[in-house]
Structure formats: C-alpha cells, structure tokens
C-alpha cells in the first residue's frame, strides 16, 4: 500500500501548501478570506485551470504542449468571428472547440507521424497558430458580443460565477476520462513506457495524437471563457499561457518525465498560483517582487519532488 500512500500523500502535501498559503494570507489581510474574494480567485483561476487540465494529459503522456496559448487565440478569434457573422452561440462554440481540437490533432500528427519531438512540434504550432489568429483578424481584436454569450463569464448561480462551473465540469469530465477510460489508461501507459505499451497492442500513434487533441480542446474551452470575460477575442491573447499551465501541472505533482500525476494535483496547482497572485495583489506587493515569488514557488515545488525522488532512490 506504500506506493498508494506516497502518490496521494504528495497531493495532500500540495493541498496542505494551498491551505497554509490561505492561512497566511488570512492573517495578513482582511480582504483575503471573504466569500466574494474567494469566488473572485476561483473565477480568475478558471482559465489557467482549464488549459492545465489539457496540459496534464500531455505531460502524463511524457509530452509537452507549448502551443496552448496560441490555440487560445485561434479558438477565440474563430469563436468571435462566428458570433459576429450572426451564427447562433451553439454553432460558434462548436466551431471554436472544433478548431482547437483540430489544431491539437495537427500537433499530434506532427509528433506521431512526423516523428518530431513534442517540444519542437508544438513550438512550431505556437508560432503557426499565432500567425493564423493574426492573419484571420488582420491583427485586430474582435469584440462586442450579446449578453447571452457573455453570460458564460458573467452569469452567477447561487452567487458562484459561471466559469467556476465550467471549470468544475471540465475537471470532472477530464478526471473521468483519465481515471476510468481505456484512453486514460493508455495516456499513463504511453507516458510510463511507450514501447511496452505499443507491444501490448495499443495504437500509440492514434492515442498520442488524441492526447494533443484533448489539449487543443481544453485550450478552446479556455478561449470561450476568456472571450466572454473580456467581451473581446484578441489575436494576441494567451501569450505565455503555456508556462502558467505547465507550472500548475508540475506544482500539482505531475512528473515531466511522464507516466505519473493527475488532475487532482493540477487543480490545486492552478489554485496555488491563483491564490498567490491574488494575495500579492491584495497585499500591494510590487509587480517585480510578484514575479520572483511565483518563480520561486514553481522551482521549489518541483525541487521538493526531485529531492524526495532522489532520496527514495
């Protein structure tokens, strides 16, 4: 049972970190532990959390996806343009999700059939997708949507912002896929030992391609939230979002080596980053110091994992 305890133990540790951070902020500022601020943090975390959910699939499969930020931009401008063309919301959502998924699949194909390292394939896509978004919009934001669409970001149910529900839904679904389905098993197996998985008769190419599709899909969901939130889709949106998503994933204990990790850790990782940023704003800490602190948290979180693993042998 030891192996089990260590995995969930790590997650508990991350959770304890989040809790400790919360207690500290509660002690330092009266504005932190209020219902409206906590809801505010959840809402702000939603976009990164959704992208990180897709990133978790990719990283567990021993890959990396640097293109997510650009995919957010592409999916966003497609969504916005479809809405501006007078299409119903459902069609626009479908178009945007389809575009995100398709770009993700292209990443996957470049990696599986083109045999490119994921770092390179998605680095290329990062630029290609960004260029597509800029070209598609001639560099200009597409803004102004009707309230029905904007309600994706602005609606409240029981006082809780809609993006929080979207995030919860995304995580429940993603967790189900990762933990309960064949595809989820294959994601872990490919990340843990790709060749053994292939020799077990798994169509590694297909499933790996799908992993990147999932990541693209998650980016598109994030694009919907972002566009509704800003009431605008910018072709320059999402620059460097990949780093926040990777950070949330690794703070959550998913190993960059692949094969290990899970969404429970990732959501906590995303919340740690969100709470940290929120708290630093509330405390009025200078923007420069904020960057240092966030960097330190990322490095320390991963350092602890490395040290513990090294000690375990």
């Amino acid at each position: 049972m030891r192996h089990r305890l260590s995995a969930s133990g790590r997650r508990l540790g991350t959770l304890a970190g989040l809790f400790g951070l919360g207690v500290l902020l509660w002690a330092l500022t009266p504005h932190f532990l209020t219902v409206s601020n906590l809801l505010n943090v959840l809402e702000q975390t939603s976009i990164n959390a959704v992208i990180a959910a897709g990133m978790t699939f990719v990283i567990i499969s021993a890959g990396i996806d640097l293109s997510v930020g650009s995919l957010v931009a592409v999916a966003g401008v497609v969504l916005a343009s479809t809405l501006h063309a007078g299409m119903p919301i459902t069609i626009a959502l479908a178009a945007s999700l389809a575009v995100g998924f398709a770009f993700g699949l292209l990443n996957g194909l470049a990696i599986t059939w083109g045999r490119l390292p994921p770092f390179i394939a998605t680095l290329g896509m990062m630029s290609i997708a960004r260029g597509c978004a800029l070209l598609f919009t001639e560099g200009r934001p597409v803004s102004g949507f009707d309230p029905a669409f904007r309600s994706i970001a602005t609606a409240r149910l029981l006082g809780i912002p809609a993006p929080v529900f979207v995030t919860i839904a995304v995580y429940l679904m993603a967790h189900f896929v990762l933990a309960e389905t064949r595809f989820g098993r294959y994601v872990y197996s490919m990340g843990g030992n790709e060749e053994a998985t292939r020799l077990s008769g798994v169509n590694v190419r297909l499933h790996k391609t799908l992993v990147y599709g999932v990541s693209g899909l998650a980016s598109a969901v994030a694009a919907v939230l972002l566009t509704a939130r800003l009431n605008s889709a910018q072709p320059i949106a999402g620059i460097m979002y990949e780093l926040d998503a990777i950070a949330a994933t690794v703070i959550g204990g998913t190993s960059l080596m692949g094969g290990e990790g899970g969404l429970g850790g990732t959501i906590i990782g995303a919340l740690i980053m969100g709470v940290l940023r929120n708290g630093l704003n509330l405390l009025g800490v200078s923007s420069f110091v904020q960057q240092i602190v966030i960097g330190l948290v990322i490095v320390f979180a991963v350092l602890i994992d490395t040290v513990l693993k090294a000690r375990k042998g």
């Binding site: 970190g17 560099g139 910018q234 320059i236 009025g284 110091v289 240092i292």
Partner: protein
C-alpha cells in the same frame, strides 16, 4: 513526509512574500487609516510608465493618500490586468486609475468597479467609446494627451524639415490599440497634403525595442531608399536606431518617435534621433491621482483632463527636460 515538506515550504515562501510586501511602501491594508487609491498600468518595463508612477506617487504624498501601484508582466496581457483590477476591487481601494491594456477588453472590469462603487479614472489610453456605451460603464474622467494631435504634430514637423519629400516607414504598436492607431492617423493626416511624402512600409513592432530593431531591419532590406522612420513610441524608435547603425546608415535616416522618454531625448541630443513628441507621463500620473482622489471624495471631476503635449527636437531636447 511529503505532506510535511510541502506544508512547511509553502508557508515559508509565503512568509518571504510577506516580508517583501512589508518592505514595499505601497503595501498596507488601510492600517494607516488613510484613504487608499490604486494605479494599475499596462506594464512596468517601459520608462513611460515608470515616469507615470513617479508622478502618481508625488501626488499621493501631497494629497496624503496611500497609493498601490500594480501592472501586468506584459503590456499585451489584458486578462492579467483584469485580474489585478478585480483583486484591487476585493481589497476595497477607494478609487482606481487605470491605463487600459486593451481599450475594449477592460470595459467589463470597469463595469465591476462601477458595481462596487469604486470610481475609475482612465489614463493615457481611452476606453473604446462604443464598447463602453454598450456596456453602460461609467468612468470618472479621462486623463491623457491627445495622441491624434501628437501624431499630427510630428507629421507636420516632418513635412517642414523634409521640404515635402520623404520616403517613410512606420513602426506601429500593437494592432488594435487606440493609442497607436490615433498616432498613426494623426501622422497620416498631417502628411496628406504633401504628395512628395510617401509611406512605403507600415508594420507593427508591438511597442517593443527588440521588435522595433528586427522589423525595421527587415524593412530596410526590402526598401533601401527609406529616409524616414516614424515609430509610434520611443522604445521602438530606439530599436530602429540600432538597426540603422547596424546597417551602416547612421545619420542618413530621420528617426521620429513618440513619448519623449529620457533615452530618446539623449539620442536627440546626440544627433541619433530627429524628433519625438513629449507626453509628460509624470503629469499624467499626477493628474490621474488628483482626479481619482476627488472622485473618491465625491467632488466634481472634469470628464476630460488634457495633459500638455509638445514637439521635442535638438533645440529643446535638453532644456525641456523639466521633469527631473
């Protein structure tokens, strides 16, 4: 063991944060009892905004209010700026001065400030009129210089010094930015009457120095005959100056900028740059905080507060530097 390690570490890091925060003059939760206002800027890696911060801090001191200054890491990151504003609303600041990273995109968060009854003063970049009207958001005031007029001023100056003959490259800011668009429009309108002044290339360099360098270097490759570059801010102009000297064309190309930051003034004094438009961001910062404090107290504030604007050339580059 693992749980223990993490639970010890995070608070440790957070303590560090708290210490860092404690050192920061702007920190505080109103413990001083003084009213608190916030200035949220696009970024802090542009001297323009550093000057703005300086002016704002001076005003806050004079008016005896606490000032919180925050900015996103990148000028393009509207979402992050939005988060900062949301967090400051949670921290119940008395008033907010905001330089929008996106003239349409920040409208929703200004709406949130309205709902929280926190007056908002917009600085430097106007909100998109239509978006603001559609959303029904209210701002206490706009503080800024007229970017369109600034573009006109420098365009008129070019027509004069070039005797009506020039081949011009334009380095634009981020596409869709009200500020850059207005400057370009003003510039183009000013040269309209001179058929000898032609624009041969116009490319975005996203407000950044390295991109100003690269984009202009590429433009030079395509158009060797360019004799003037107009960059929509000085940062890009300084990048273009590097590209010019790298191409061995120092002194052969007029460089026009915008903002009159210190480095640009120095470049003009040194003869590497031709002219720029002074924007006086420190005055903007001061006026913004003054307006914010008035609005907070419920006093009347003019809807539009103009900050002076002026042409800076070799004649006045050093003399006009009155902000130090």
């Amino acid at each position: 063991m693992r749980a223990l390690h993490r639970s010890i570490l995070y608070p440790a890091v957070a303590t560090l944060v708290a210490l860092a925060g404690g050192c920061n003059r702007a920190a505080g939760t109103g413990t001083t009892g003084r009213p608190r206002v916030a200035l949220v800027m696009k970024t802090l890696n542009n001297p323009f905004f550093i000057d703005m911060q300086r002016g704002a801090e001076k005003a806050a001191k004079d008016l005896d209010v606490d000032l919180v200054v925050q900015a996103a890491d990148r000028e393009t990151d509207v979402e992050r700026q939005m988060q900062i504003v949301e967090n400051l609303i949670q921290a119940h600041v008395g008033a907010l001065a905001l330089t929008p990273s996106g003239s349409r995109e920040v409208v929703p968060v200004v709406g949130k400030a309205n709902a929280a009854k926190i007056p908002v003063v917009i600085v430097d970049t106007r909100l998109d009129q239509k978006a603001a009207t559609d959303a029904g958001v209210k701002t206490a005031s706009f503080v800024g210089s007229d970017n369109y007029r600034g573009g006109q001023i420098i365009g008129e100056y070019l027509v004069k010094v070039a005797n009506g003959r020039a081949k011009v490259a334009i380095l634009e800011g981020i596409p869709g930015h009200e500020t850059g668009d207005s400057r370009v429009r003003g510039f183009k309108d000013a040269i309209k009457g001179s058929p000898g002044v032609t624009i041969v290339a116009s490319q975005p360099a996203n407000w950044e120095r390295d991109q100003g360098f690269n984009v202009f270097q590429n433009i030079l490759q395509a158009h060797a005959d360019i004799d003037t570059v107009f960059a929509c801010n000085d940062i890009m102009a300084l990048g273009a100056i590097e590209a010019i000297s790298a191409a061995g064309k120092a002194g052969q190309i007029r460089v026009l900028g915008f903002d009159a930051i210190d480095d640009a003034r120095r470049a003009i004094t040194d003869g590497k740059m031709t002219a720029t438009v002074a924007q006086y961001p420190d005055e903007m910062g001061r006026a913004a905080i003054e307006a914010a404090v008035k609005a907070m107290k419920g006093e009347a504030v003019p809807a539009d507060i103009g900050v002076r604007i002026g042409l800076i050339t070799k004649e006045n580059a050093a003399r006009d530097s009155d902000k130090k």
